[in-house]
């Protein structure tokens, strides 16, 4: 009888791979980082249309396309894992001290609605400076979240994407700092 039970469960287990659970760090990362990326796309699309410096329009377009693609990857993970896009848990609760980094509903580095509105209604060089400042701050917050998931996940696909994010955004942080300096402005953080 015991053998039958063992066999049955072994069958259950081997019938499907082991997916992260509803409250897992991987699920939390996928949901929260999708949201975080969503704002990066919002700001990048504004800058893509309105920045004066071509270098900024190029990097903004790059950010928008790449991060929108990464949102797609993370949403597909959730679907594959049988999980929904929403959680009743607070954002960042999957990260140790994650909730302490929250500001209302905003994750680390996220701009307020007013700031995005300011970017949207800005003109000329102001667009350039505001975008570089907001996106620089946004990237640092994102890298903080990426570091959080890299500490706790062993899943190869999650690690691969997280490491790509860290690489790309780290490079862009340096670039944005350089551009800000050339614009005579300073980063916010």
């Amino acid at each position: 009888m015991l053998l039958v039970a063992l066999g049955f469960v072994a069958g259950l287990l081997t019938g499907r791979p082991s997916w992260p659970a509803e409250a897992s760090a991987e699920a939390g990362f996928a949901r929260d980082m999708s949201e975080h990326h969503g704002q990066a796309v919002e700001m990048a699309m504004i800058a893509y249309q309105k920045a004066t410096l071509e270098e900024i329009r190029t990097v903004a377009g790059d950010i928008a396309i790449t991060q929108q693609g990464q949102i797609g990857v993370m949403q597909t993970w959730l679907k594959t894992w049988g999980l929904g896009p929403n959680s009743s848990r607070a954002p960042m609760s999957w990260m140790p001290d994650g909730e302490a980094a929250l500001d209302g509903n905003r994750m680390p580095g996220m701009a307020t609605r007013e700031e995005v509105g300011k970017l949207r209604s800005a003109t000329g060089k102001e667009v350039d400076i505001l975008f570089c400042q907001y996106m620089h701050r946004h990237h640092l917050g994102g890298i903080h979240m990426v570091d959080g998931v890299l500490k706790v996940t062993a899943r190869p696909e999650v690690r691969e994407l997280a490491e790509a994010m860290k690489r790309n955004q780290g490079f862009e942080v340096d670039l944005l700092e350089k551009i800000l300096t050339s614009l005579g402005a300073k980063p916010l953080v």
């Binding site: 009888m1 015991l2 039970a5 063992l6 049955f8 469960v9 259950l12 287990l13 499907r16 997916w19 659970a21 509803e22 949201e35 969503g38 704002q39 796309v41 919002e42 699309m45 249309q49 309105k50 929108q68 949102i71 797609g72 949403q75 049988g82 999980l83 929904g84 896009p85 929403n86 009743s88 209302g104 509903n105 905003r106 996220m110 307020t112 609605r113 995005v116 509105g117 949207r120």
Partner: protein, 395 residues
């Protein structure tokens, strides 16, 4: 006196105390000394009834001495000082096996039992009297022997002829005794390993069962449609008006909608920005419906909603993607939530169904899973803002 003395009867009488001492505990086998027909208590091979033993002392004692030699299994007839004892005694062999099993325990607790028996003895005097034949102090020695859980085989080499001259019931050779099944010293079944095996098996099954249930649960979460269907008061227009839900063309200008606020239908080519935008003036239905198509939840509230309730709603919306809220003049209820094809009207901002609606339908109700909520209209004039002919780059 020690029981040892009893075993090797010195030939003297057993005193009451001694008999009591060595009296077998209740659960010891009654030897059913078949042979004995000690009418008066068969000092010799009578199985000892703990109860009556003491009274029968006298001759009994003598008898018991010789009985000591009898390697009869311990009798397990405690104070059964009943007249009809004899028969049961005879039947004892049948009981012998189980009682023998207890015998080892009995042996262990002999002293205690005998003490107990001793105390029973006194008050049980009358019992003893009625069943003189039953009680056999001699049995005490037999008890000892039986403690060894030997079957009828005589264990007492020190068998001595009893003063009574009766042939030992048990006899050194156990002759004449009803055959008794051999009994192991320690109970007939070793429960230790069995208990261990069963315990381990039960634990294993419980663990496996628990894991299986968890796995099953995890792979059978309710769908978002099921969650939505569980919300009391939710209107599912896929059921009540599927034709409207199926309309989703882009159209410019002011459009008319069947539901108020609208939940689906043709809509403007531009959506209302739904990146957690909290609008403080009326939003165009034509843009909002397009936002619903992208998977946003739109919270509309009657403009006279109290400020603290507006703020409660705003805390659910602000800065959260795929959410927007706006005042809606003419709303028939204080608050109305919309997702593509679904609507819920509530009276208060602290209604728990608001969070349930958002949890079930935000992003899930989308017709365009990869669409975003940024890049939309941010004005709120109540009128659609139709696209100018192609917007200049950088404008």
């Amino acid at each position: 006196m020690s029981t040892g003395d009893v075993r090797r009867p010195s030939g003297g009488k057993l005193t009451k105390a001694v008999a009591a001492d060595i009296r077998k505990p209740k659960d010891e086998v009654d030897e059913a000394g078949p042979r004995d027909d000690d009418a008066n208590g068969g000092a010799d091979s009578k199985p000892t009834s703990s109860g009556a033993t003491s009274t029968a002392t006298g001759s009994r004692a003598a008898g018991s001495k010789s009985a000591g030699s009898r390697a009869t299994p311990a009798k397990a007839t405690p104070a059964k000082a009943t007249p009809g004892k004899r028969s049961p005694a005879k039947a004892a062999p049948a009981k012998a096996a189980p009682t023998k099993a207890a015998g080892s325990k009995a042996a262990a607790s002999k002293t205690t039992a005998s003490k107990t028996a001793a105390s029973k003895t006194s008050p049980a005097t009358e019992d003893a009297e009625t069943a003189p034949s039953k009680t056999e102090p001699a049995k005490a020695s037999a008890i000892k022997t039986s403690g060894a859980a030997k079957s009828g085989a005589p264990t007492r080499p020190a068998t001595k002829a009893r003063p009574g001259g009766r042939p030992p019931v048990k006899g050194a050779g156990g002759r004449g005794r009803r055959p008794v099944a051999p009994v192991k010293v320690h109970s007939e079944r070793n429960w230790g390993p069995i208990a261990l095996f069963v315990g381990a098996g039960v634990a294993a099954i419980l663990i496996i069962g628990f894991a299986a249930i968890q796995l099953y649960r995890q792979s059978h979460q309710p769908t978002w449609q099921e969650k939505a269907a569980g919300i009391d008061g939710l209107v599912d227009y896929y059921k009540t008006d599927p034709q409207v839900v199926g309309q989703k063309e882009h159209a410019a200008g002011i459009l008319t909608y069947k539901m108020n606020p609208p939940v689906a239908g043709n809509h403007n080519g531009r959506w209302q920005n739904c990146m957690g935008d909290v609008y403080t003036s009326e939003v165009a239905k034509e843009h909002a419906v397009h936002s619903l198509e992208h998977g946003a939840v739109w919270i509309a509230y009657r403009p006279d909603l109290p400020a603290n309730e507006i703020e409660t709603l705003a805390s659910k919306v602000r800065d959260k993607e795929f959410m927007l809220m706006s005042p809606y003049p003419g709303l028939d209820k204080p608050i109305s939530l919309q997702a593509w094809g679904y609507q819920l009207k509530v009276d208060r901002a602290d209604d728990g169904r608001i969070d349930q609606f958002i949890d079930a339908l935000r992003k899930n109700a989308t017709l365009e899973p990869q669409a975003g909520c940024s890049g939309g209209i941010t004005d709120a004039t109540g009128k659609p803002m139709d696209l100018p002919n192609p917007p200049a780059p950088g404008s």
